[in-house]
Symmetry: C2
């Protein structure tokens, strides 16, 4: 089994889950290859042998070396994030497009048709949107990141159709609550207004409370990846990019949930400080998704934002253990 | 001005039209660069200076050399066709994806934001289809050719959004009547059942007469390219890939039109010889297109199949002049 982008937040959580389960697709996991541009942490106390690989997938030969062991499942999470891909044209296309294509071509040339799970994003969609985005909504990205993810999906569908690998692309909604420190991503406040008050700290809300957005917990994101590894590709058919389910709520509803789960004092720690530059970005983001196909294929998300907050408390704040950040 | 794929059927007709008009976008054409993997014919009897370039756009440096003269309009027609891209994986991705990206990147690095017109295709769409395909129908190609065209469109939209060039992608319907000899393309019969009977020769119809498909003449295809060079990019907005209009007719209606234009003896030269292998491909092809956006933006196609046949007679068979093939 191979995970690219293994040192990232989702990569670390996926590694942890696989080590804990010891199984995937009904089979015992014997080996894990963890790849990233920095060293991924090696899981401890496990019978699974682990190799850590450091490098850039777009470098000639790198992807070939990585798939030499013929992993039966590949989780391709590696990528630069939206803001970085927009700010740095060359880096975005190099990592998100060339790196992805290099991996796909290495699998093509290895000729053994493994399952490949690719994390795409709802950034493949661009405004204007209907109130609820159907599964067959057209993909017209408005960022370089979304463009690169769309191109990765297109390759994945074609390579899967040709039987070069058996790919599933999952379009992730916003992952919330993101653990760790506040960052400067335009979406950062969605997590910040929950994470900081839970620690007794003040959080800033830069957009109106009426903003509606779809969220899934990091735990659900890992669940999506596991499910994507397990499902029958033939049942998915040729349209291999799936909109993941999530909880579509307004910011006001997020704050109400925080009040229910952690008390009104926590909810009172949110300061409204309208920021036009954040609003200019967020107002063009998709709101709610239908995600019929994914639900029918067994992808499960939380059903309320309360559950998303509880997942964060359990996974990041419980038992005094050092949280995964 | 630069035309890639200038030696192909559409490239030659576009060159002929530009030389005849002497003008584009209200400005006199002073120079034409004609690029292809074989030498394009140099137009004669014209005040326009012409350079012919032979080469592969995907070769490092080739695209940079081609845009050195900073053409103000680029018609990017170069590509391998559907059947070839399906049969030859490497060639299809090299020419249709890498060649296109190399040209786009050369323009990006030249930093002068010219108009670029890219011939995409209705092959970006995959079955199942609604009866009339709306402009915002999702693109889920079922061929490598369609995948490569979709990836080219995605790049074009992102590069245009970033102001690297001002791109318009036109999704061509089936071009009919194609001049020249019968070929083995699955779509070949759509032209063959008109072209051969007009010459008094027998033509084979391998699919049911009920098959509905959308057609535009080569003359209209050239008109689309000219219009795409002229329109205001800002008016098109960020969704730069446009479904071109055409004439949506059944094969039965094509044959009726042939009877009206050329007489019942011509129509009687069509032999029905059902071919399951052709039918298996054609039954998954799109039928009719809405093409609202393109019509509003001034793209004009024939309004009847009779007109498509007449265009073929005028352009290819009139005056005893040697037809462009």
């Amino acid at each position: 089994m191979l995970i690219t982008g293994a040192a990232g937040m989702i990569g670390r959580k996926l590694t942890g889950r696989l080590v804990k389960d010891g199984m995937l697709c009904g089979r015992k996991i014997s080996h894990l290859d963890l790849h990233d541009i920095v060293a991924a942490e090696t899981p401890s106390a496990t019978a699974i042998t682990t190799n850590t690989h450091i490098g850039d997938l777009a470098v000639p030969g790198a992807a070939e070396a990585l798939v030499e062991a013929r992993p039966d499942v590949i989780f391709h999470l590696a990528g630069v994030v939206s803001g970085e891909a927009e700010a740095n044209f060359d880096l975005g296309y190099r990592v998100n497009l060339d790196g992805t294509r290099a991996l796909f071509d290495a699998l093509r040339l290895a000729v053994y048709n493994p399952r490949l799970v690719f994390t795409s994003s709802i950034a493949v969609f661009g405004a204007p949107f209907p109130e609820i985005i159907p599964d067959d909504f057209h993909a017209t990205p408005l960022t370089s990141y979304g463009t690169q993810k769309l191109m990765g999906e297109a390759l994945l569908c074609d390579y899967s159709r040709r039987g070069l690998f058996d790919g599933i692309a999952i379009r992730l909604p916003t992952i919330c609550v993101r653990p760790g420190k506040p960052n400067k991503a335009a979406s950062g406040f969605f997590s910040g207004i929950i994470r900081e008050p839970l620690k007794g700290e003040i959080a800033v809300l830069p957009v109106p409370r009426s903003v509606v957005h779809t969220h899934a917990s990091p735990r659900s994101a890992v669940g999506f990846l596991i499910r994507a590894a397990e499902i029958d590709g033939a049942a998915v058919g040729p349209r291999r990019a799936l909109n993941m389910p999530g909880v579509g709520v307004s910011v006001a509803e997020q704050i109400q949930a925080l009040g229910r789960v952690a008390g009104s004092k926590a909810a009172a720690l949110i300061r409204e400080e309208p920021d036009q530059s954040v609003w200019a970005i967020v107002k063009n983001w998709p709101t709610r998704f239908e995600a019929h196909r994914a639900r029918e294929l067994g992808f499960v998300a939380e059903t309320s934002f309360d559950d998303i907050i509880r997942a964060h408390i359990e996974d990041e704040m419980a038992g005094g253990s050092s949280p995964i950040q």
